[in-house]
């Protein structure tokens, strides 16, 4: 499976201010068309292969994602294509369902391969007059990473089938006792770390010699 958002960091990009399309003249008393365009400019010169796009909705009913892709091998100019068309974010544009939810659009949900993407454009639609405004918040784009080699999912039952292996130990101490004493030492260091004091240790002279076991551990 490909990398998850937990492992990978989102791509740094700049988001232009959303442009709400208007009907009629740009000034005075225009009706809202219920369409808004958000342009996302990915870092110049570094096309991205998109793994997923996440965002938080704010009263947007449908979103369309268009991508500007430039194939590095070919010399052809970059082309726009539609990755997702009219994905419904709200069950009903007039009611609250889904209005403030978090969404993820994975590359497998996209109609085209979102590779070598230079620019993304999100077209938001909200046909209902019930709302004063609508937008998307906290837009993040996660890059596609190469998949890890297949890992076996460990089943707790398979622990029961492990048989003890006794390697040939000649003159070496028993691994069990060594590991338990290492554990004890580790626990000791943890205790000391949490109980550090600024007092100087000083010299603990007992009968004229240092004895490490006399160090105070308070």
């Amino acid at each position: 499976m490909s990398g998850t958002p937990d492992d990978t960091k989102p791509v740094n990009f700049t988001v232009k201010a959303p442009v709400y399309l208007q009907i009629g003249d740009a000034k005075a008393d225009t009706a809202h068309s219920g369409v808004c365009v958000v342009d996302v400019n990915l870092p110049f010169g570094k096309p991205v292969n998109i793994e997923e796009v996440t965002f938080k909705n704010y009263y947007t009913a449908y979103v369309t994602v268009r991508l500007l892709r430039r194939n590095p091998k070919q010399e052809a100019p970059a082309k726009w294509c539609t990755a997702v068309r009219d994905l419904p974010l709200m069950d009903n544009p007039h009611t609250e369902g889904g209005s403030q939810d978090y969404y993820t659009i994975h590359r497998t949900q996209m109609q085209v391969e979102p590779d070598h993407v230079v620019c993304a454009r999100l077209i938001l639609r909200q046909p209902s007059l019930a709302w004063l405004t609508f937008s998307l918040e906290d837009i993040k784009i996660f890059p596609h990473t190469e998949p890890d080699p297949e890992k076996e999912v460990s089943d707790w039952l398979s622990d029961l089938t492990l048989t003890d292996q006794h390697p040939d130990l000649e003159g070496l101490p028993d691994p069990q006792t060594v590991s338990s004493s290492i554990q004890q030492m580790w626990a000791l260091t943890e205790v000391m770390q949490t109980n550090q004091t600024t007092a100087s240790i000083g010299r603990f002279d007992v009968d004229g010699c240092y004895d490490i076991s006399l160090l105070s551990l308070t």
Partner: protein
């Protein structure tokens, strides 16, 4: 819907495993698996399969299925969403709920100051001993409760709901005239009759319902066969301990004798040793400390359940359940996953989970007819509360939340009884003000008990409180003729005062399936 099906499935599986890991059931199954290794038919070569088949035949797989089924009732989670969003996605509702909780707590604190009674204090040894002796008959006590008053009443809560506004909602245009008829101004999505008919298809007029179709109007031979069949099916369901089947079965009503078992199965409310122990611990807490809230509980029981013809006999049980419930912090654990946080507070180091309001004890009273063992009664009530009842006094956008129920009631009335709605508005009556007190208590104390239990069968069967809103609208439809004649609020209230003779299922069936569209 939003993610690839396969990805969503594996996410859900991972989340459920996460939640079940470390649970008591997990350790029980592990222990069983280890113990079964002693069995002769479990062989090393086929260890995995043998242990699995042992768990299957000994019934543990079924228990695990029930637990998974229960976890599936919880809402799915998308990785990016923070926990408070999963509880309630709408910011303005979270804020409203938080400020409501603060208000309730403030009211409690000021009551404490005013009366000079501490929020919590340890009982002296003599008092503890006395309470232990009187545990089974606390109803005989007649403490002076005149100074205490309920922290809030349902009508106070209704005012908060009415005042709720979405800051992004454009109310300047008359886009929906209907929203100006009713009291609720929040645009939640609620279902209308066509959708309800699909969702509640088992309530169709042609389907047999427990409580209607097993009455003497039907020929005895047919009656016996039908009843016997239903009884047989429900027996099988109970013996097989199948939660999902019990829930499906409950949609058409439970036979009286098996209702207790079926409900316990649906709610996965076991009465195992650790449950009994948990109850005993809570009881010990009650004996040790006296909370201010205890007095409120006493008062509520005395005012409501004790005055009720059906429930006064259960007064002692109610104290035993509610006093423990108010101290049960395990209730709060569940609210990490599920919707709004109930009003909780830290009182001198002790968390009380729920601050009761006037009428709260009516959530417990009907259950006393089904369960007579205190810890079992307690467990079932607790499950009912954390799944359903808390939604009736919290502000949330959940489809079973009281806000959605209120809106649904108003919309159903406006759409299918517009003349009645208009007439009531003309005489200055808002229908919701009449129906709210029914819905907030899920009709407990207003219907006769057998009818109430049939209604609650459907709440469990459909895992939703929607039937409560539908019933409220159906009652108005039933009494529409009388209501059209009234000319004042008082006479409207009089028409709707007595619901004890109503038969719940025929009303709902007629309203859903016989209303002209």
């Amino acid at each position: 819907m939003r993610m690839d099906e396969g990805i969503e499935l594996s996410l859900t599986i991972a989340q459920i495993i996460q939640r079940l890991r470390g649970s008591h059931l997990h350790s029980q199954i592990e222990r069983q698996a280890k113990e079964c290794l002693h069995q002769p038919d479990v062989k090393l070569e086929s260890l995995k399969e043998d242990v699995r088949s042992f768990l299957k035949t000994s019934g543990w797989e079924r228990k695990l299925q029930n637990a998974v089924y229960r976890e599936l009732q919880l809402p799915p989670r998308h990785p990016p969403a923070p926990p408070e969003h999963l509880k309630e996605p709408l910011v303005y509702m979270r804020k409203a709920q938080a400020s409501w909780e603060k208000r309730v707590l403030k009211s409690l604190n000021s009551m404490s100051t005013e009366l000079g009674v501490p929020l919590a204090h340890m009982r002296p040894a003599a008092e503890q001993k006395e309470l232990t002796n009187k545990w089974n008959e606390m109803g005989t006590d007649e403490p002076d409760l005149s100074r205490f008053r309920p922290v809030y009443a349902p009508k106070d809560f209704l005012e908060v709901l009415i005042g709720l506004r979405n800051p992004n909602h454009d109310s300047s245009e008359d886009i929906s005239v209907r929203s100006h008829w009713g009291l609720i101004q929040v645009p939640l999505n609620v279902r209308d009759i066509p959708h309800l008919r699909e969702a509640y298809s088992e309530l169709n007029l042609t389907s047999g319902q427990m409580g209607i179709d097993d009455h003497a109007l039907i020929h005895p031979a047919v009656l016996c066969t039908h009843s016997l069949f239903c009884l047989h099916v429900s027996c099988v369901v109970v013996m097989e301990e199948d939660s999902a089947a019990a829930q499906q079965y409950s949609r058409q009503g439970c036979p009286t004798g098996l209702r207790a078992d079926l409900w316990a199965l649906i709610l996965n409310a076991t009465n195992q040793p650790q449950d009994v122990m948990h109850y005993e611990q809570l009881k010990a807490g009650v004996i040790q400390h006296n909370l201010l809230v205890d007095n409120l509980i006493y008062k509520d029981v005395k005012l409501t359940a004790s005055n009720d013809d059906y429930y006064f006999v259960f007064e002692d049980f109610l104290y035993q359940v509610l006093l423990c419930f108010s101290r049960d912090t395990a209730v709060l654990e569940h609210f990490k996953y599920n919707s709004a946080t109930p009003p909780k507070s830290y009182i001198q180091g002790e968390i009380i989970s729920v601050i009761p309001f006037h009428g709260f004890s009516m959530y417990v009273a009907p259950l006393c007819f089904l369960y007579n063992e205190p810890s079992k009664l307690y467990n079932v009530f607790r499950e009912m509360y954390i799944r359903y009842f808390f939604r009736l006094h919290s502000i949330s956008s959940h489809p079973s939340g009281i806000l959605s129920l209120c809106l649904q009631f108003e919309r159903l009335l406006q759409t299918h009884l517009p003349q009645l709605f208009y007439h009531l508005r003309q005489i200055g009556v808002q229908p919701l003000r009449l129906a709210f007190k029914w819905m907030v208590r899920a009709f407990s104390g207003y219907l006769s008990t057998d009818q109430l239990l049939l209604l609650w069968d459907r709440i469990l069967g459909y895992d939703s409180l929607e039937v409560v809103a539908v019933l409220a609208a159906a009652v108005f439809a039933f009494r529409a003729e009388n209501l059209m004649e009234v000319t004042s609020l008082a006479s409207a209230e009089a028409v709707l005062a007595d619901l004890s003779t109503l038969k719940v299922m025929p009303l709902i069936q007629v309203f859903l399936f016989a209303t002209a569209m």
